[in-house]
């Protein structure tokens, strides 16, 4: 039993966003034949509208689209409204750094970058299936978070992986996406060790505190406690910044450069 993951209902609907009609229809037709429900959109704005109606779990996205909105911008808007959506980018511009940089900046959930033209549609199938499975798992986590707290998503993922080893790799990938950081197992272990020592110090403190306690000893306990708490905060804060997109120093630089050019305004 896989803790009901397989029973979670997530649509197997795909959205193909491609401005070139022949490619779009050919891909749609092949994927329909393989059993998927397929929607299509010829430009970014239409894709955002279609996805906004909340249906497709996975979007196959071209990057260069007409009508002023490219695939990264469309994906950003789709993900903003449907945070669980996964993307598979199909593009002739796979190696252009700027697309990757923007995708990273917006934390887009891109499952894979696939070269266009597609040699064989079957190469897409395992990628689509993996993306659908991830969306299912994330949807399940959302329900768990709402219904069964205080088990939070990460501890749930850990329990899930322990219970069903066949999805351990997937669970770890989803955990990394949720955390949005590069935190490694070593750091987590270090924190757990710190926490364990902190717990012990609190226990000792409450056991000793009272009218007959030695104030110097209690002060030493508190000092060690503060040291450990700061150590934990140091580790965690290395990753905290990664959650934010705006860089204040770049903002300051932009303001100052512009002011200089506009004459000190």
């Amino acid at each position: 039993m896989a803790l009901g993951v397989a029973e979670v209902e997530v649509s197997r609907r795909l959205l193909i966003v491609e401005d070139e009609e022949r490619s779009r229809e050919a891909l749609a037709s092949m994927l329909k034949r393989r059993g998927y429900e397929v929607q299509t959109a010829s430009n970014g704005a239409t894709s955002v509208r279609r996805a906004g109606r909340g249906s497709a779990s996975v979007v196959l996205m071209d990057l260069v689209l007409g009508n002023g909105m490219d695939g990264i911008e469309a994906a950003r808007l789709i993900q903003r409204h449907n945070p669980l959506t996964a993307f598979i980018v199909i593009t002739a511009h796979r190696h252009e750094e700027s697309y990757h940089a923007r995708a990273k900046q917006h934390k887009l959930r891109i499952e894979a970058w696939v070269d266009k033209p597609l040699d064989d549609v079957d190469q897409l199938l395992p990628i689509i299936e993996k993306a659908l499975r991830k969306v299912e798992l994330l949807a399940h986590l959302e329900r768990v978070r709402v219904k069964e707290e205080p088990l939070d998503s990460l501890s749930y993922l850990r329990a899930l992986a322990d219970f069903d080893p066949s999805i351990r790799g997937l669970a770890n990938e989803v955990r990394d996406e949720l955390v949005g950081s590069e935190a490694g197992a070593g750091e987590q272990e270090a924190i757990m060790q710190i926490r364990s020592e902190i717990d012990g110090l609190y226990d000792e403190f409450w056991r000793l505190v009272g009218p007959d306690s030695d104030p110097a000893h209690l002060a030493r306990l508190r000092e060690r406690l503060r040291e450990l708490q700061n150590q934990e905060a140091d580790i965690v804060e290395q990753h905290a910044e990664a959650r934010f997109s705006f860089d204040p120093s770049q903002g300051r630089q932009l303001i100052e450069e512009t002011r200089r050019r506009l004459g000190g305004k």
Binding site: P83, Q105, E142, R145, V146, E149, P150, L151, D152, S153, L154, S155, L157, R158, R175, L178, V179, S181, A183, E187, Q188, I191, M192, R195, I198, D199, Y202, D203, W206, V209, G210, P211, L225, R226, Q229, N230, E232, A233, V236, E237, H239, A240, R243, F244, S245, F246, P248, Q250, G251, R252, L254, I255, T258, R261, L262, K265
Partner: protein, 261 residues
Amino acid sequence: MTVTASEVAVLPSVTLPWAEEIVRQHRPKPAGGERGYRLYHECLRWEFGFCCAFCLLHEVDLAAYEIVGTALFHAEHFRLRSKDPGALNRYSNCFYTCCFCNTSRGKAPNEDSLGRSLLEPTTRVWSEAFHLVDDELRARDPGDGDAAYTALAYDLGDPRKTRRRRARREYIEKRVKFLSETRGAEDELVTFAIKMSGDDEAIKWARERANKFKEMRRLATDDLLRFRAVPRDRPTSCRCGHNGHHRLPHVLSQQTSRLVD
């Protein structure tokens, strides 16, 4: 505060200690069993505005600690289960607390050997007992034994809390400052471009700059939206059986500001 569909209530840069006692709105059906109180979790999240009832950190403040992979918020039993078994599943005895407050108190008694009593925010105005000094929540009056004992028991001076509080303040202040300083920047650049009519290089520069400002303002706004007072995973139902009272407590909502999503 009423928030329209496209507006989001965003946390203040610093959550000030509650200026009133928190009045419980939720009346969940009593739960039984060894872990029945867990069924109050949704009620507690709304009741205390997704904040720790004691140190006032919000769920979003502790998101960085998700890397540890353990639950970040718990139901705290104010009257210890060991001292009062009936208190285990009594809703009025349950408080929403962060993992740090919950762990630090442990089994510390409600009254210590000096006769000092623990405080809780439904019977005591938090701002009368505590204030913020350099982002640390401290007893306001050193002579207030109850506040001092509460600060000790819940370890309100834990640097993990102070540093998260400081981080939120700095993140929000920097972004709000940028948004406020650059309000009208795009208009100013358009005016500049009009004035420079004929100078293609200057017009191109102004257009690029305007786009850059637009993009950075959007990033700053997106970051601020991370500090939404009502998280995206808010419970839509609770054990009360209706959701008419699914709103932030007044003491928090009056400190929030609105942002268009």
